[in-house]
């Protein structure tokens, strides 16, 4: 199970790499087409804006897996082993609750947008269900990851080594 879940996390991070490359290529393409040929795309701004949501949330679980989210560990480092484990449990529970609520309400948001056929009022007209759907998926993965953090803290399983943000 854990392996499958980690696979999902890596998959959505891998999607992020593609997203980043897509952004560079399409934004340059759009601007050059506009400048040289007066033929910009109708979709670049719209899709790339929604991809920012992807960058923000779809990689969050993977970053949490390696405990690489930005945090201040100054005080918790001063605590004993037991205290550290207890805080890990508490923080994990906060994480499950917050991410769970975000996923649940994000799902309702996406469902409603689909149900009512909400679209961007542009010529490209992206159906809003697609960008909204990233919230339940991303926060859903994150909620599961926090739950695993809690479990690991209770059972005493060590977290995966903290990989600092740039040394992946």
């Amino acid at each position: 199970m854990r392996k499958i879940f980690e696979g999902l996390e890596r998959l959505s991070r891998g999607g992020g790499e593609i997203v980043l490359a897509f952004m560079v290529v399409t934004i340059c393409y759009d601007a050059i087409m506009r400048y040289l040929f007066t033929a910009p795309t109708s979709w670049s701004l719209e899709i790339n804006t929604f991809l920012i949501i992807y960058v923000a949330i779809m990689t969050a679980a993977d970053v949490q897996r390696t405990d690489s989210h930005i945090r201040i560990s100054f005080f918790s480092d001063m605590m004993g082993k037991g205290g550290q484990r207890a805080t890990r449990v508490v923080i994990g529970l906060f994480g499950v609750a917050f991410s769970g609520i975000m996923a649940w309400r994000g799902y309702l948001m996406a469902f409603q947008a689909w149900d009512y056929g909400e679209r961007v009022s542009s010529s490209f007209g992206t159906p809003m269900v697609f960008p909204y759907a990233m919230i339940p998926i991303g926060f859903g993965l994150l909620a599961v990851r926090f739950a695993l953090n809690v479990l690991d803290a209770i059972t005493g399983r060590n977290q995966d080594d903290r990989e600092d943000l740039q040394n992946v």
Binding site: R34, Y35, T38, A39, P40, S42, S44, L45, E46, L108, M109, Q112, A113, Y116, G117, E118, R119, V120, S121, S122, S123, G125, M128
Partner: protein, 313 residues
Amino acid sequence: ETTLTGVSYLPPSYKALSYGSAGFVERLNESDAVSVDYYDSGKLLKADEQLPALRAGTIDFMFHTTSYVTRSIPILGITGLPGVVEALYENPGRIAKGSPLFELINEELAKEDLYMASMMGNILEPEYLWSTEGGAVRSIGDMEGKKIRVVSFEATKVAEDFGAAAVRIPSSELYLALQRGTVDAAVANISTVIGRSLQEQLDVVYKLPMTAYGIGLFTTTQRWERLGDAEKAAFDEAAAWFEENGAAQANDTIYVDEYWPMIEEAGLEVVEPSEEELARLDEVAQAVRDAWIEEVGAEVGERAIALALGNGS
């Protein structure tokens, strides 16, 4: 007292647009039946999040620019159809509360559980083409090969049909884009031009009515029905004020006495389209109208257009 939560994403500094909404809130708040918890400037919800919030029951009413939601609520597209908006704008009664068009819109909205209490009495003065010296647009012919910043679906289609490139850039970058020639022109309401100081970078306004919008006061049918009689009465009374003063104050007072003089002072050349050009716009816009009719259904669409043009009943 019942507390009603309302939102608008427009800041008070867009005073032509928020005069009506601010007055509505003030009046509703003064009533004995209702107190209002109101958030403007997008403090609580950004423009895109207002409609979902209303549907979810998080807020009780919202002011919304129709052009932002015409693809989610197609019937509101009537306020932005090129070839129609000029006639609608010139005849405020046609979309006034209680008019056949107003009722038709509400019948369609009801299918989505929405209720429009008022459309500020009229739509706002149409959106024209504002251009820079380097890419001046003084006629339909001039649009060929120009980069024109548009937002709405309706304006995009018309601009493209006249041979222009429809460019999408964020509104916060429009000022610089006009200055640097990233775009030659923009389709905009005069409120947007003044609100973003765009007149500083613009040289020509070609008053071709590309599209338009109104600011509607919306709630959901469910919420509306749950209100007590006293609350409904208070709401209606404030809405009646909004109906009478909303668009009128913007179109007839602020635009005329303040905004257009500011445009003149900034040295912009004002070009009126000829009858022929308006006829050409009408012709090209047929495709936009057809696409819209298809979206809302032939019967409703044709009837709405006829009513807006003053031909229906």
